[in-house]
Symmetry: C2
Subunit: 297 residues, 2 copies
């Protein structure tokens, strides 16, 4: 978690506790499955998606304490997606966040199942929002729809499918855009829109948050590609240059490093412009946008 601005830490720490509580304990039968679920979800990651949930809720003047369920759910979905992405039949990555990938530690079968269970548990956690967090049932149902859309075949999973199908093919800008807006962008968008809904956003606010989500997602993906090219393997917790090895489409390959950096900066500026009419509560979304440019992991 080093490198995170100080003001975020308390949110991240709270989220860790919520996640640790929401997931079945490692003593719950079948232990190895729950251990595998916790291994890939707890104690690691930037918690960017959870912070986006909280940031969007705060930006529309909502009560951040109510976002715990959704914040935990998006982190579970993110964790599941990493487990499945790392599988030998997918990206075949043996390391994640500096640790052995889930399938290396638990075997492929348990890794598939741990991912499946985390995705399922995310929706269980959403269903607890009315009771645990006082989110009205009709808002909860809308959020289930947002998360399912963002994570599904026309969202994150669709992006991963196109990514897999594009390996060993020539880069093409349209495909690249699709992969990124879906593989990573769709879950960002669900997190942000969901957080805004928890916060009681007006239709106008929701629309603004949606545009923020789109620029944010693009900025994130461009810097991700840049880091893969020039980042520090140890800080990233995974080998660099993997995307190149796999002949994947990346922004630096398409536009070069300099132009890619300028594009990311433009996206972040757009995020800040969108928030210019928002009150003080939007500070976290502002910081998150700026963080994307400076991040080294």
């Amino acid at each position: 978690m080093s490198g995170l601005p100080q003001g975020w830490l308390k949110y991240v720490q709270e989220l860790e506790e919520i996640l640790a509580q929401a997931l079945p304990s490692a003593e719950t039968y079948p232990q190895v499955l729950h251990d595998a679920m916790r291994y890939s979800t707890l104690g690691g990651g930037k918690r960017l998606r959870a912070l986006l949930v909280m940031g969007a809720c705060a930006a529309v003047g909502g009560d951040v304490q109510k976002t715990g369920g959704l914040a935990a759910a998006v982190e579970m979905v993110h964790a599941y997606s990493l487990i499945h992405d790392d599988l030998p039949c997918m990206d075949d990555d043996d390391f994640r966040r500096g640790k052995p990938a889930n399938h290396v530690k638990y075997g492929e079968a348990i890794a598939v199942l741990a991912g499946d269970a985390l995705l399922t548990e995310a929706f269980a956690e959403l269903a607890r929002m009315p009771e645990k967090y006082g989110v009205p049932p009709e808002v909860t149902v809308r959020i289930v729809a947002e998360l399912a859309h963002g994570a599904g075949s026309q969202g994150m999973v669709g992006g991963q499918a196109v990514d897999i199908l594009s390996v060993d093919q020539l880069p093409d800008e349209q495909t690249l855009r699709y992969i990124h807006t879906h593989k990573t962008g769709a879950l960002f968008k669900a997190a942000l829109r969901g957080g805004a809904l928890v916060g009681g956003a007006t239709a106008e606010e929701l629309e603004a948050i949606t545009r923020y989500a789109e620029w944010f997602g693009l900025a994130f993906q461009i810097t991700d590609d840049i880091l893969d090219e020039v980042g520090d393997a140890q800080e990233l917790g995974k080998p660099v240059g993997r995307d190149q090895d796999l002949e994947k489409l990346t922004y630096p390959r398409l536009y070069g490093l300099e132009r890619s950096r300028a594009m990311a900066a433009e996206c972040v500026q757009n995020c800040l412009d969108i928030l210019s009419g928002f009150p003080e509560g939007a500070w976290l979304l502002r910081e998150l946008a700026s963080f994307v440019l400076q991040r080294s992991f």
Copy 2:
């Protein structure tokens, strides 16, 4: 679908249409992913889980027309579970319902993703229940919780995990019970309880339906094991004797064929006894229980 009692056919046909509508079309980008999702969900299977949803709703005097969303969702969850179960790292089955398994036809990566997307789409479909089927949001949230619990790490996925971990070990009755009550029974229970909730069940009715679910699940698993031993490979659409090859725990291995058959009959009798106080609307649940004993596929 041959072998299904005539009275059920119209329900099954309606369900097929609901499913065909609920899933993104095969022309929706990314096409191969949506094609893979539809391949394993449409035009096959007994639709037992969907019928249990409808049967439970009717048994408590509810409007069966309102069950479409949940019926489609449980069939999507079932389809996803079969895709993932068949993967080389799991049961490694190349055939399912007489067709090549999803990963044989589309490759492992797309099969994993198609399963993930079906699970996600199931919850998207539940979120559509208030608008499409007039199910109140608070009931919808309860049903999301039921499905997530039945499909998750302490339900279906938990059962599959223990099944995988038990391969090559000596049969043990407690483990066998756990696998069956979870791997297949938990989703039956979610289907039945969810259907009863759609139908506006009282607490007492819900409790009775839950007990029905438990006996039904056990009866189903015992006959499943028996069919694996003595069934017709063509009618089953998969090779017989696989469980034996894999050294899996089965009822015939533990108790012999005769005693297993008697146990299944007892379970079905318990189902019928539970329904004895129910009105005419419970006919489908009665027939479904009896069907389990007679089924040959």
